[in-house]
């Protein structure tokens, strides 16, 4: 009961509200040692202190009142606010492709939460249409909330649920699938779904937003439109991530689920294809392919759903001077697979060798990936590399570390046979290892250099 009436208040602040019989959403007049204040008492964010009461004053602003200064409070009215976008039924336009939107939570579908003062995933996919009516011009949308979790809480269970849902939808004859997803682990999910949903006949597009849809400059609306367009109209039948190309509201990029990575904590244009070019550029008007070869859309429904995942795989991000106890602890805890993220061409120090040997003896599957992200693991160049291979660590080419972790987890969900594991790991499902790195697959422009300065002045990046 208290929870409802005094949302978020605790300690001194709660005692005070109770003493003067003032509720959250109550219009209240407060007398303090600093003068009078009037407004509506708002819920308090759970992690904020117990020394203040939040008030929305007549001008729309929020202020905090220090409980120590309060002399008297009086509730004079009550008005509870409901933050809600009207849920509208999506109009059906004959001739437009059928697209299914799976809601999973995350910033693309979010609203403000007074309790925590933070953004929570709570927009139902139907409400999304209320906010972005343009979607109706792109496709006939069907929506389903699969689950609602923060991006960082996405994990094996969710990957499997999504893969099964995708399989079911394809059997139903859908033309394309969009998955609304928080951005932090979008690329993990992209990799997981690539491995779990093979031989896709239709596009599966993962989309998120870097700025929540509760702000006017959000990238959510445009990302959604791009994703719907890709799912409904593109002929690329792969698992893709669709996010802003430049930080400007101009076009989006379609990245392969296995080659994409979040590269900036807050930029809109945070997702980049690593070691290759994106699949295509996309705007509301058109889809312009960048890569010539990709899996084409088909009319059949012959998708293969492989919903496997072992939770006994971990990653070891190497740092100079690392002691073997870290690795030993992983072995002792029963991990069956370890993805090393090594320096340079794929190295760790000699001190780890005995622990590596021990892991190998116990049958732990070990693979090497790179901290440099770009480039190939190359363990023949230096003795160190050869030493490690001799101790059972297998290089994974230019597979990204997170992708390698997802893939090994997926493989160990199916087999523990070393030979089989190695073979599956090194046989690309969809370009998680590529045979060649194109010259424009590595581009990190250096600011300050004249030609780059000229470029960014002219081109919206």
């Amino acid at each position: 009961m208290d929870n409802d009436i005094f949302q978020g208040y605790k300690g001194d602040a709660l005692t005070l509200l109770k003493k003067f019989q003032v509720r959250v959403w109550g219009t209240t007049r407060i007398e303090t040692t600093r003068g009078h204040f009037e407004g509506t008492v708002l819920p308090r964010a759970e992690n904020d202190d117990d020394q203040h009461i939040v008030l929305k004053i007549a001008t729309g602003y929020n202020i905090g009142i220090d409980v120590k200064t309060v002399k008297k409070m009086k509730e004079t009215g009550y008005h509870k606010a409901n933050y809600k976008i009207p849920e509208k039924e999506f109009p059906i336009t004959p001739g437009l492709p059928r697209v299914k939107l799976f809601g999973t939570g995350g910033t693309i579908a979010s609203r403000l939460d007074y309790r925590t003062g933070a953004v929570i995933p709570a927009f139902s996919p139907g409400e999304l249409y209320g906010a972005v009516p343009e979607l109706a011009d792109i496709c006939n949308l069907e929506t389903e909330k699969v689950f609602a979790v923060f991006s960082e809480n996405m994990g094996p269970k969710q990957y499997i649920a999504l893969a099964k849902a995708i399989g079911a939808e394809i059997k139903n004859g859908i033309d394309g699938i969009v998955i609304g997803h928080g951005t932090d682990t979008l690329h993990h999910t992209g990799a997981a779904l690539t491995f779990m949903c093979q031989n896709l006949p239709v596009p599966v597009v993962l989309v998120g937003s870097q700025r929540s849809s509760d702000r006017p400059s959000s990238d959510a609306a445009l990302n959604l439109m791009h994703a719907m367009k890709a799912a409904g109209h593109s002929d690329i039948a792969e698992v893709m991530v669709c996010m802003f190309g430049p930080t400007s509201d101009e076009y989006g990029l379609l990245h392969k689920g296995t080659r994409v990575r979040k590269m900036h904590s807050s930029y809109r244009s945070t997702f980049r294809t690593i070691g290759d070019t994106p699949l295509a550029r996309i705007s509301r008007k058109e889809i312009i392919p960048i890569k010539k070869h990709y899996n084409k859309r088909r009319a059949d429904k012959n998708v293969k759903i492989l919903p496997y995942f072992s939770e006994k795989v971990t990653m070891l991000y190497y740092y100079p001077g690392m002691h073997p106890d870290v690795l030993n602890a992983m072995i002792d805890k029963g991990y069956r697979g370890i993805i090393f993220v090594g320096t340079g061409l794929g190295h760790v120090n000699k001190e780890l060798y005995p622990a590596i040997e021990r892991a190998h003896a116990k049958g732990v599957h070990m693979f090497m990936t790179l901290q440099t992200l770009w480039g190939y693991v190359h363990m023949f160049v230096y003795d160190t590399g050869r030493d490690m291979m001799a101790r059972g660590i297998i290089p994974t080419g230019n597979m990204l570390p997170e992708v390698a972790w997802v893939k090994l987890s997926w493989i160990l969900g199916q087999t523990d046979d070393p030979q089989k594991v190695k073979e599956m790991m090194l046989t690309p499902v969809n370009d998680e290892i590529t045979l060649r790195e194109p010259y424009n697959g590595y581009l990190i422009y250096q600011g300050g250099v004249p030609e780059v300065e000229e470029f960014i002045r002219k081109v919206h990046k």
């Binding site: 204040f37 009461i53 602003y61 202020i63 220090d66 606010a81 403000l112 006017p216 930029y267 990046k461």
Partner: protein
């Protein structure tokens, strides 16, 4: 007899009761129910911006940028679940916003690609200090709020703003003005251009700390609004912690008349514009109320309906020839309304045109109508329009043109504004023009556009912190005013003394020397103002350097009047040492005896060949000759006395 727009315009002005400002009295304003309040924005003098570590106050030219970023703004729902009116309007305009970024003064925060850093505490302390000077109730916790702006002036789509104090008061010499609140907020971008669907901003000013002081609508005539505004600015400056110069202080003025609506005049750059602007606005509202009465008498608002016809390619009027789409619109019962007086030199039709520009993005000229003061277009065109629309005698018509895609919004805009005419004064913000009139800027936003900022934690303000800040407050403006009065300093120099915050310096010099405050008041308020106007080419003169001038003179046993001769040189070369200034102006030391020794020769020279020399003329002539030599070496009034004895 046929209808004459010119005659109608003049007659409607007369019937509205419009008077030029100099003929208006308090009685005039009382009759109209003049009510006005202010929102005064003042930049704070900090090293860094409010929510990031970019330097504040570094400006760049329009084309001096390192990168451009493009954004579009979408309205979002308020926490109460409603869309804001302005938000929807701005969305209708479908503007593409380009931001020009200079790496010297903007980072990824400004363009909303990095969340805010904790609020600049230097700025918060300054805002608190000013709130306390305004006798505000200081909040217990500062909550950072997002205030939506969809015009693109802030790349996030909202301004981060927070209340520091509420319910204050400002004492003017003859009145008290109540204050609603004082907030600390980030400044917006500066607009470079706004043409059609493209608006360009630069981000140099964006994010600089600002305070906004909001008053109740307590002012009852235009001069009072101006005075209140000046006093708020003086108060801000009295702390010495705010920026000065072009654009550092800006105000929005809210005006309404009896039966009217609060209309906000935005971005008034100079306080001296306020009286004319508020005067004209209150009459504009009065005129709109008259239109309301006329229209409602003619027809029921619910049965009013406009008609339009496509006349693309049919008219010969030059601006229409290239237009993609041209529509003629019949406005039933609008005869005499289109040419109704609204403001000096503007008609009701101009209200329609202004909205077409802003809401439908139709660049002006964007319409012609049946009641142009100089008939437009030609006779043949008019005949065609009339043939198409078949207007009745009491109807008006307009012709609009533009790109096909903008026409639906344009039609809606016309219909909406015409319907509003039945209701009186629309809630809107208006842009001020130097001639004292205003044009439509935006629909007035409501309280619905406020959201808590989920990126920032609240900042507690405990009693101890507030007490500490309270210890170093300057005295109240009204006390300064009263002190100057007591010192007999003439009132016409107060504005200059307060606006340059010279009062504390006067106080200090009065304590350190025996120079009379009256002399200092004239010296700073008149002589310095004159010198700055004539000898300085700097925007921001460093007034602080004048503080040791009088003790310098005292130490060197020179009379303080010498300061007046030094002023032009000091003002022109603020970095020059006082010693060098003396050399530069050719000052030489003379004893009183030496100076007086020259008197007999000068007297003889003046009287030469005159039979009855005029004593006063003689006195003035000799003083004139000796002034330069004597200044600094002896008191001129003493010299004058001694001269009289010798005459």
């Amino acid at each position: 007899m046929s209808f004459s727009p010119q005659k109608n315009f003049e007659e409607s002005r007369h019937k509205t009761g419009y008077l030029p400002r100099k003929e208006a009295t308090q009685e005039t304003y009382d009759r109209l129910g003049f009510m006005s309040g202010l929102e005064v924005h003042q930049q704070l003098l900090t090293q860094e911006k409010l929510f990031c570590h970019c330097p504040a106050g570094i400006y760049n030219d329009d084309d001096d940028f390192n990168a451009e970023i493009v954004r579009h703004m979408r309205p979002t729902l308020s926490e109460l679940g409603e869309y804001d009116g302005t938000a929807l309007m701005e969305f209708k305009t479908r503007k593409e916003i380009t931001y020009r970024i200079n790496n010297e003064n903007a980072c990824t925060y400004e363009i909303d690609d990095t969340p805010p850093f904790p609020m600049n505490r230097e700025a918060l302390a300054q805002a608190l200090e000013i709130s306390m000077l305004c006798k505000m109730n200081i909040v217990g916790e500062v909550h950072i709020t997002r205030k939506q702006y969809l015009d693109g002036s802030i790349p996030t789509g909202f301004q981060r703003t927070a209340i520091v104090g509420i319910e204050g008061e400002l004492e003017l010499p003859h009145k008290k003005v109540r204050l609603i609140q004082l907030s600390i907020e980030e400044d917006a971008c500066r607009e470079i251009s706004d043409i059609g669907h493209k608006r360009i901003y630069k981000t140099d000013r964006l994010g600089m700390p600002l305070i906004e002081t909001v008053t109740y609508p307590d002012c009852v005539n235009p001069e009072e609004v101006c005075e209140a505004c000046n006093y708020i600015r003086f108060l801000n400056r009295s702390t010495g912690k705010v920026r000065t110069g072009m654009g550092a202080a800006r105000q929005d003025v809210n005006v309404s008349c009896k039966g009217g609506t609060r209309v906000e005049i935005k971005g008034v750059a100079h306080t001296k514009w306020i009286p004319e602007l508020t005067h004209n606005e209150v009459f504009r509202q009065w005129a709109l109320l008259r239109i309301k009465k006329i229209l409602n008498k003619r027809i029921k608002a619910s049965s009013w309906k406009m008609f339009y016809a496509d006349v693309t390619g049919m008219l010969r009027y030059t601006p229409l020839k290239k237009a993609e789409k041209v529509l003629a619109i019949r406005l039933p019962e609008f005869q005499g309304i289109l040419s109704h007086f609204i403001q000096p030199g503007s008609l009701f039709a101009d209200e329609l045109s202004g909205r077409l520009k802003v809401i439908a993005c139709l660049e002006q000229p964007n319409m012609i109508h049946s009641e142009e003061l100089k008939p437009l277009p030609g006779k043949k065109d008019r005949e065609k329009i009339i043939q198409k629309l078949q207007p009745e005698e009491k109807d008006g018509w307009i012709v609009i043109w533009g790109a096909q895609e903008d026409i639906p919004t344009a039609l809606e805009t016309i219909e909406e504004r015409c319907r509003m005419a039945f209701e009186g004064v629309p809630k809107e913000t208006r842009k001020s023009l130097p001639d004292g009139t205003t044009i439509f800027e935006r629909v007035l936003p409501g309280a619905n556009r406020m959201y808590p900022d989920t990126d920032s934690a609240p900042i507690p303000l405990d009693d101890k912190y507030i007490e500490d800040i309270g210890k170093s407050l300057p005295e109240e403006m009204i006390l300064r005013y009263k002190t100057l009065k007591k010192w007999n300093v003439p009132e016409d120099v107060y504005a200059f003394l307060f606006s340059k915050n010279l009062f504390p310096m006067m106080q200090k010099i009065t304590k350190e020397t025996d120079i009379s405050p009256l002399y200092l008041g004239i010296f700073f308020g008149e002589k310095l103002k004159f010198a700055l106007h004539h000898y300085s080419n700097r925007k921001n003169f460093p007034f602080k350097i004048l503080s040791p001038l009088f003790s310098f003179l005292k130490e060197n046993r020179l009379h303080h009047q010498l300061a007046e001769s030094m002023l032009p040189t000091i003002v022109a070369y603020p970095k020059m040492e006082f010693d060098s200034v003396l050399t530069a102006i050719g000052f030489k030391r003379h004893s009183e005896k030496e100076i007086l020794a020259r008197v007999p020769i000068l007297l003889a020279k003046f009287t030469e060949g005159k039979i009855h020399p005029d004593k006063t003329k003689e006195h003035n002539w000799v003083m004139g000759r000796l002034r330069k030599t004597a200044l600094g070496n002896m008191d001129l009034s003493v010299l004058s006395e001694k001269l009289k004895q010798l005459q």
